[in-house]
């Protein structure tokens, strides 16, 4: 069944380096990653407790990011420590946009499509619950899961709103904006290959249009020296480099080069006849680089 579904990704053979290895990795289940909620417990203390219970974990390059190698339960959330909010299960690739955002205590940050809250709660943790995060989502059901995660992790500096990120007014300017845009989700294939839908050309195009509207709205709310982190968990250039190009050409944005300690490749140079001059500053994380999901990231600022 997965073999059949893997054919979907053939369209990216020319743009994903080491493509056969990429495909082979898609056949393997994605490991669980987590981060320690340092608002509630020190990293070393939690790791010691989990190891005592039979977990075997591996820290990634000095980051608060741990890969689970072995666990005594079927799901990594089936522990007292999880229930107490001491850790959050989050793929390493999903931590990358927050690291690119580099949130600082006291800042005003907008997370435009926040649910279920992996990135918002990570931002809050890095800000030590100070400053203000406006975490927005359009879906009531998704907001419920966002609120539950905020509560479990003990996050107190988040205001949750339910607005349409394409045109909503967030009543002010923000130092930093995370636009982790709704997308075709190709980078999540390994988490749920059975339920994977992907998108056809028309689907990518519709999503791309919505993402551009969201980016336009993000610019409206950005302070003069602020930054926008645009990210998706998909590979389609229509939803990634093409949206960034739109920002550069139509919204007076520039792409910033950033350092990221998570292994990645540069963006796509050309797709379907469209050239992306800023491709070298874009970041793509693929499953075959460090055994994660997929992610696209670009950091944008006003020109």
């Amino acid at each position: 069944m997965e073999e059949e579904k893997l054919k979907y990704f053939e369209k990216y053979r020319e743009i994903i380096r080491d493509f056969d290895n990429f495909l082979e990795t898609l056949k393997t289940p994605q490991p669980y990653w987590f981060r320690v909620n340092t608002l509630k417990i020190q990293e070393e203390k939690l790791i010691e407790r989990l190891e005592t219970k039979g977990f075997r974990v591996e820290r990634f390059r000095g980051l608060n990011a741990y890969r689970i190698l072995e666990m005594p339960v079927k799901h990594p959330g089936a522990t007292v420590e999880y229930s107490l909010g001491y850790y959050y299960i989050q793929d390493l690739s999903s931590m990358a946009p927050v690291l690119a955002l580099d949130p600082q205590p006291g800042e005003r940050i907008l997370d435009m499509a926040a649910a279920p809250g992996s990135k918002s709660t990570m931002i809050a943790e890095l800000m030590n619950n100070s400053g203000t995060i406006v975490a927005n989502d359009i879906s009531v059901d998704r907001i419920k899961s966002l609120a539950a995660n905020i509560e479990r992790l003990g996050i107190t500096n988040i205001i949750v709103t339910k607005k349409d990120a394409r045109n909503a007014n967030f009543d002010g300017k923000f130092d930093k904006i995370l636009l982790d845009a709704p997308c075709s989700g190709e980078g999540t294939f390994r988490k749920n290959p059975w339920g994977f839908q992907g998108a056809d050309e028309k689907g990518h195009s519709i999503l791309g249009r919505q993402q551009k509207m969201m980016l336009r709205n993000a610019v409206r709310h950005l302070s003069e020296d602020g930054i926008i982190v645009y990210s998706t968990c998909t590979y389609s250039p229509i939803e990634n480099e093409s949206v960034v190009k739109y920002g550069v050409e139509n919204l007076n944005l520039k792409v910033l080069k950033i350092e990221l300690s998570i292994p990645h490749l540069e963006g796509v140079k050309e797709w379907d006849g469209e050239k992306y001059e800023m491709y070298e500053k874009c970041i793509r994380i693929y499953p075959h680089l460090v055994d994660t999901g997929g992610m696209f990231i670009a950091v944008l600022a006003k020109q």
Binding site: V80, V134, N157, I159, V160, F170
Partner: protein, 145 residues
Amino acid sequence: MQFLQNNSYRIYFIERFGIPEHVLNTYTFWERGRKVWAFSGELWDINGVEVFGIKALTKGRDLKPSTAFLRIVGKYAKKNVIFLDDNNTLAFLRGRELNIDYPADGGYVVVRRKDDVLGCGFYVKKEKRLISLIPSKYRLQETWV
């Protein structure tokens, strides 16, 4: 319905649990309906707010503190705190009632096990009963470790 600021709710946590005022001054308190929320961020005048920080209290005949907020500030509580041993901890987290004689006032208590703040309980002093008020979503399942 709007959130209305009312920081007088700090007094509840100071008086009931002996939590130092400087800890509670980190938060502003906001009422909406029967719920009171605690927020540690900078104030932001924004429309369409669904959630404002974290639920801290529910208003009723008495004020009922939330497990979520006690898990944040409960470690600073100096009174009306009940410490459990390992066996009772698991029972409490499963939502069970405990028979326990403890030097705490009757009413809402912070329940702990060593460094862990487990959440909110209700202590019936006359009957030496501790009722677990852990929300069902946080309750320990048999399959957990």
